[in-house]
């Protein structure tokens, strides 16, 4: 409560301050920020056999307030999870408190921050601190950061601090250095772009092992380059993490110590009307946490489940589908070593790639018609690293470029077309393979699925429009087939309404199911809702059923339990 009052005191002082400064625009003082509130009223659902949690009304709220005066900016973020956070958010988000604060001084050449800051080196495979409220991730670093840009072609960053976990910070200290060098700018190359970058990230944490087989300071290094010439481009990044103890199964073992590495290569060709992109990646033992041991909340639940204390970002390189059914069997990147002697699962990372192809059939051509036709092809394949694995005592030795058992694959094509000035549509075909046994290290379930998802949107008047999306999935195991329907009506730029339903059928009641808390069969997962937007404000209200499963954003997922109820969300920036 004291902290709350403190927060309010700061807020009110800022608000008073802002009134004085807004009188004179020329002082350049300005106040800005935003409010976001996501609340849920969980209800009993007799048909699904779900009782609401003890506190049925739960709410996650964020208030960010920044004040800028010339080269200086200060900001605070207050967060309130009262009376409790939404189901399955990190339990360390408790009550109302100050989440982050910072003071920043920025000129063309110098950018200094004290307090909490966000940062990403390269593609984030060694270090990324960011915020994703839908996943409950805020791993900002509390400490200091300085960015120097002596010329427009050179950028150097140094940082130091501890990572945020809940409303506190973790024990491990993080040191980081990054450089980005634009060679084509320095060498005044006209026709090509060439840049290189180097990073160092260190994480220091005391260990309780008497004779640790690893250094308390874990060093990691990264080098990358980027080259493009006209329509062609290529970039690559190699990351190395020094020897460190590996989790076995949920605490680190002094007898299981290995280095980690990540290699990412991306190249492509693109010009007007056509684009081709290829990404290849190999990840080995790249779980990098700001504290070696995750916090254990219960035997089944550790802080890993809440994406807590992650220092790096290893997203799954697969297409992020907007089809609901294509997000039932969703792949998460396999960055960690996992050796489970009980069921013979042994994996050390992943290897694979993704290809994207975009093409536009021109207006007037046979496929293009009057308005043109756009297609997007995508495929991804991911495998375990091949090598010699020993279950007990745990050990492995991987081969660098050979592939092991398949985790996941996705082949899909999306065709979109405008038929006339009022009607446009698209259709997606998706074929997925999901190896649950190897991905989740549990039940021996492998799923092959095929999804068709057509969608049309029709303009009724210049402002009113209707969108209808139908989806069907055929799957050969787990809960088998699904059908889904969504209808959305946009009244104008302010009001919109939607209704949707998802239904599962064709299942075998006696078969193995992927999750043990899964729903009863013959359940309609209906939802209906409305949203009102005006300027920067948006209010959304909906009622319906949430399927238990993974909710993902940017390739990182959070498990949500099955629930039913009313959702209210509110966002506003100022």
């Amino acid at each position: 409560m004291k902290k709350c009052l403190f927060l309010i005191a700061i807020l009110s002082s800022i608000s008073v301050f802002s009134q004085t400064i807004t009188k004179d625009e020329k002082t350049k003082g300005r106040l800005f920020g935003g409010l976001e509130s996501n609340s849920q009223w969980y209800l009993n659902d007799i048909e699904r056999g779900i009782n609401h949690p003890e506190q049925p009304i739960r709410s996650n709220n964020y208030l960010l307030i920044n004040y800028n005066y010339g080269k200086w900016t200060a900001g605070i973020q207050g967060e309130s999870y009262a009376p409790k956070p939404l189901l399955n958010f990190n339990p360390k988000y408790e009550k109302t408190n100050l989440g982050t604060y910072f003071l920043n001084y920025k000129t063309e050449k110098v950018d200094v921050t004290a307090g909490y800051f966000y940062e990403q080196f390269g593609s984030g495979l060694l270090l990324r601190s960011w915020e994703d409220r839908s996943l409950g991730i805020n791993n900002a670093i509390r400490g200091g950061k300085i960015v120097l840009r002596p010329s427009e072609n050179l950028s150097f960053t140094g940082l130091y601090g501890n990572q945020r976990t809940g409303f506190g910070v973790s024990k491990g200290t993080i040191y980081g250095f990054n450089s980005d060098i634009n060679l084509s700018g320095i060498l005044k190359m006209e026709s090509s772009d060439v840049s290189v970058g180097f990073s160092y990230v260190g994480r220091e944490e005391k260990t309780t092992f008497v004779n640790p087989n690893f250094e308390e300071l874990t060093n990691s290094f990264s080098g990358r380059f980027n080259y493009s010439h006209e329509a062609f481009y290529i970039n690559s990044e190699y990351n190395y993490k020094a020897e460190d103890a590996i989790l076995y199964p949920i605490t680190v073992s002094n007898a299981f110590v290995k280095p980690g590495s990540a290699l990412l290569t991306n190249f492509g060709y693109s010009k007007k009307g056509v684009g081709l992109d290829v990404s290849l990646r190999r990840i080995e033992n790249m779980n990098f946490l700001s504290e070696r041991n995750p916090e254990v909340f219960s035997p089944e639940q550790t802080s890993l489940a809440y994406n807590d204390r992650m220092m790096n970002f290893v997203p799954s390189l697969t297409k992020q589908h907007h089809s609901n059914l294509a997000n039932i069997y969703v792949f998460q990147a396999q960055k960690s070593v996992s050796i489970v002697s009980d069921n013979g699962i042994a994996k050390a990372g992943e290897i694979g790639g993704q290809i994207d192809f975009f093409y536009e059939f021109k207006k007037g051509s046979a496929f293009g018609g009057k308005y043109g036709t756009k297609i997007a092809l995508n495929s991804s394949n991911w495998f375990n690293l091949d090598g010699d694995y020993t279950l007990y005592p745990p050990d492995y030795k991987t081969d660098f470029f050979t592939i092991g058992e398949k985790y996941f694959s996705d082949y899909n094509i999306e065709i979109s077309k405008k038929f006339n000035s009022n009607l446009q549509g698209s259709i997606v075909f998706i074929n997925q393979y999901y190896n649950h046994r190897l991905i989740a290290a549990s039940l021996n379930i492998q799923v092959n699925s095929f999804i068709i998802a057509p969608e049309i949107s029709y303009k009724l008047t210049p402002t009113k429009s209707l969108k209808i999306a139908v989806e069907h999935m055929w799957a050969d195991s787990d809960r088998k087939n699904w059908a889904a329907l969504m209808v959305e009506y946009n009244h104008n730029l302010n009001w919109s309404f939607f209704v949707s339903d998802m239904y599962n059928y064709g299942f075998d009641k006696n078969s193995n199911l992927i999750d043990d808390v899964s729903d009863h069969f013959k359940i309609h997962f209906y939802n209906l809702g409305t949203a009102y937007t005006k300027g920067s404000s948006r209010i959304g209200l909906s009622y319906g059923r949430q399927r238990g499963g993974l909710v993902c954003a940017g390739g990182i997922c959070r498990f949500v339990p099955p629930s039913s109820g009313v959702t209210l969300s509110l966002t506003k920036s100022f």
Partner: protein
């Protein structure tokens, strides 16, 4: 605790001064050059339309596709420039360039890979559009409805 929240929300109401100026953040363009989100877009009387989008956001892509159809007309009638700010993180960032080219969009593209620009404007969801004229934010639009581009164009004409 409820009281605290109430006080917080009331405070917000006192604090509703619109953000007059766009924050200046350094972002990369598709050539890898650093661009200033504000300082490099300050020509007098030009309507700068910052459209926040992502490759995985279907309504965003639909909106930018729809505007692309009429962008030539808009430019003839108005002094307008659209800056499509991709908030794709490193999972999907590499798809931006082939997608933009594959779709033949003629916009200026900026990459907000770790969402610093998005955060500085407290944007919760994309699509989100901010219109800046003479260094002042003159209009904000949250979300997109199919066909909304004609209504949006009427709005632009009035700014």
């Amino acid at each position: 605790m409820k009281k605290t929240l109430l006080v917080l929300f009331t405070l917000i109401n006192f604090l509703v001064y619109s953000q007059h100026q766009l924050p200046n953040v350094k972002l990369k363009n598709l050539k890898g050059e650093l661009v200033n989100s504000n300082l490099d877009f300050q020509k007098k009387e030009v309507l700068y339309v910052y459209s926040f989008w992502a490759t995985w956001c279907a309504p965003c892509v639909q909106e930018l596709d729809a505007i692309n159809e009429v962008y030539g007309d808009w430019k003839q009638k108005l002094n307008v420039e659209l800056i499509a700010v991709s908030v794709d993180d490193s999972r999907t960032e590499k798809r931006v360039k082939p997608m933009v080219n594959g779709k033949g969009w003629g916009y200026t593209i900026l990459l907000d890979t770790n969402q610093e620009f998005k955060r500085s404007l407290s944007i919760a969801n994309v699509p989100y559009t901010v219109v800046v004229k003479n260094n002042v934010i003159v209009y904000v639009q949250n979300g997109h409805s199919p066909g909304g581009e004609s209504e949006f164009f009427e709005k632009l004409k009035s700014l």
